[in-house]
Amino acid sequence: MTNDDLIIADPKMRAEGVNVFYGDKQAIKDVSIDVGTDLVTAFIGPSGCGKSTFLRSLNRMNDTVASARVTGRIELDGEDIYAPSMDVVQLRARVGMVFQKPNPFPKSIYDNVAYGSRIHGLAANKADLDVIVERALTRAGLWDEVKDRLGESGTALSGGQQQRLCIARAIAVDPEVILMDEPCSALDPIATAKIEELIHELRGKYAIVIVTHNMQQAARVSQRTAFFHLGTLVEYGKTTDIFTNPKQERTKDYITGRYG
């Protein structure tokens, strides 16, 4: 963990000694990690290792689970996100999230993308809103496919399109960080390839953290990889190092398919 050449020069988010509990059960044990500003960071690990739990504590989505409790310190641009002065609504506008299963609202495509902007009052008028929606859909690579049917229901799109719509919806509020919780696990290979391509294009505009089961995907899309096992962070480093030259025995066993 003390690998000198992996220190992230300009961390967007920092976690220090984070523990997450569900009731009496500890799901995350003493995790410290930095998330780079212009990088894609992948969290990998076997099922139940706590990577999704940790991801959800980065924008306080664990607050919606009554029994969840987070200790330790998580910072966004040096600011403690669990501090009483932190407004969770503002936090989530800055740290967006894309979920495992596409979850468009049962509204039109336009309204899905405009939802966040309307809530946060980002657009002064209809023309501004149109610009925001078009830009978000374009960035999400969906504009050409849906520009003629913005009034149709978001739930009528295909699974892959729905997921890109959800990414567009997250982009539309202009976040600084986008958290993706296994965004391709419900998609077919072609839709998955499109999402991966999209992640490439979004890199540099947002700090992206992606949880994935698929090690090839982590290798393809990320620059940094963190390996979680049984609630602990086993190893964190450059993606190329993790996959070609892991320092820890457990990491090696996992990426060579010994377990997981």
Binding site: N59, M61, T64, A66, V89, Q90, L91, R92, A93, G96, M97, F99, K101, N103, P104, F105, P106, K107, Y115, G116, I119, H120, T155, C166, R169, A170, V173
Partner: protein, 458 residues
């Protein structure tokens, strides 16, 4: 010796138990022999014998109990003693039932002297038919039991057969409700047709004056519009203005904000509210709400404020419907996937914005279905309106005035001494038919909406 159906049912029940034991013992015996393997386990053979023993005999018992009184009466009428009876009418019936009561030991002596000679033929016939019935029933039971018993072999598929019989029983049970509905519809329909022969349907549906009188139908007094309007005013407008917002807010609070402990207490309380008999709501409306509203109306200077008012009945009915609306809305909101809620919260929406902009719109079709079901319940509700809304058929939009509803008028038309073939009485059936058709359509539409909506998230 009379024909006591309950005792006989017990008797064949006992025989069936013996059949069960015998069937099971025989198959177990067969299984005990070397080299044989039963297709079905012994108790299925037992059930097979028991069912064959019980079912035909029980069906015969049911048929015979309904037939034998007529057979006995016919036998009596054929006897020479019955020739002196009056040919038709009330006296004849009275004498026959007098003689029957004595013959069956329900009364010590005849009250009508002319009935006395009939007692003996009655007793004889009763005795004879009882023996015939019992003998036939026992013969059937034994024949069925023996038939089943002889079929027991190691490879006999008793289990499949028993299961098929059980399935048939379940089917019959489910048909009872459906057939009853058909029976209700038919009886409503026939009486309504009789009414529509006397009064044209257009008058009932579109007439605006309601004042049915006994005797020959007078044209222009069977206008149903004031009743339909009263029903809509109370059940669909006032009650819903009370029930929809309160029910929805209750559901939102219970699903989104309430701590588990609060939910644990509030939900059962709502269910208790749903279980209060409507007559209790009725006197609450009539004795507490209506006078208070009247005083309020007088204070406002409303003309012709009455102690019986649409508002009192509607408000109390709305309160009665609250648990119904809130539980339907509760289900619908809970059926909206958690992912939808998370998606909204993750975009930085507050819980309140999430509820208003995502959860309620997503739950709306289900809620609408629930509301339609609630309306159909409200317009069929009777006790509250009878007690609190009054019986005068006014066509008015003033909620403080007394109005009447379809159900209240049905009660009014059918209670008290009425001749059952006057247009006035028959009008109750026609009103019932209209009410039935309207609520049926509401229910069909509501259930379709709810079903379609459920599919959307599965």
């Amino acid at each position: 010796m009379t024909f006591n159906a309950a005792a006989l049912l017990l008797l064949i029940g006992g025989l069936a138990l013996i059949g069960w034991l015998a069937g099971r013992a025989r198959s177990a015996l067969l299984a005990g022999r070397a080299g044989t393997r039963l297709h079905s386990r012994p108790q299925y053979h037992g059930w097979y014998v028991a069912l064959w023993l019980f079912a035909p005999a029980a069906i015969f018992l049911a048929v015979w109990s309904s037939m034998s009184p007529a057979l006995i009466t016919n036998a009596v009428l054929a006897s020479p003693e019955a020739q002196s009876l009056p040919a038709f009418g009330f006296e004849r019936g009275a004498m026959l039932s007098d003689a029957r009561a004595v013959a069956q030991g329900k009364q010590a002596a005849v009250r009508i002297a002319e009935a006395a000679p009939l007692v003996k033929p009655y007793a004889d016939a009763t005795h004879r038919y009882a023996w015939i019935g019992i003998a036939a029933m026992l013969a059937l039971a034994l024949a069925g039991g023996l038939y089943a018993f002889t079929r027991i072999k190691p490879d006999f598929r008793a289990r499949t057969r028993v299961e098929r019989i059980v399935m048939a029983l379940l089917l019959i049970a489910s048909l009872v409700a459906i057939l009853t509905t058909f029976g209700i519809v038919l009886s409503l329909l026939f009486e309504s047709i009789r009414f529509f022969r006397l009064v044209p349907a257009t008058e009932l549906l579109f007439g605006t004056y309601w004042n049915p009188q006994s005797g020959a139908p007078q044209p222009g007094t069977f206008g149903g519009i004031p009743l339909f309007w009263g029903t809509v005013l109370i059940g669909a407008i006032i009650a819903m203005i009370v029930a929809i917002p309160i029910g929805m807010m209750t559901a939102v609070y219970l699903t989104q904000y309430a701590a588990p402990t609060v939910r644990k207490w509030v939900k059962p309380c709502l269910e208790i509210l749903a279980g209060v008999p409507t007559v209790v709501y009725g006197y609450f409306a009539a004795l507490t709400v209506a006078p208070a509203l009247r005083n309020f109306a007088v204070m406002l200077g409303v003309p012709n404020a009455s102690t019986e008012s649409a508002l009192a009945a509607g408000i109390v009915m709305g309160v009665m419907i609250i648990p119904f609306v809130s539980s339907m809305a509760d289900d619908s909101i809970n059926a909206v996937p958690q992912a939808m809620r998370d998606g909204s919260l993750a975009l930085g929406a507050t819980p309140n914005e999430t509820i208003r902009q995502v959860l309620i719109p997503a739950a709306l079709p289900g809620v609408m279905g629930g509301i339609l079901l609630a309306v159909s319940r409200a317009i069929g509700e009777t006790m509250i309106v009878v007690m609190a809304a009054g019986l005068s058929a006014n066509l008015t939009a003033n909620p403080f005035a007394s109005v009447t509803t379809v159900t209240a008028q049905i009660v009014k038309l059918l209670t008290g001494d009425q001749e059952f073939d006057s247009a006035k009485t028959l009008a109750a059936f026609a009103l019932g038919l209209v009410l039935f058709i309207v609520t049926l359509m509401l229910n069909i539409v509501a259930l379709r909406i709810v079903k379609k909506y459920r599919e959307a998230y599965e």
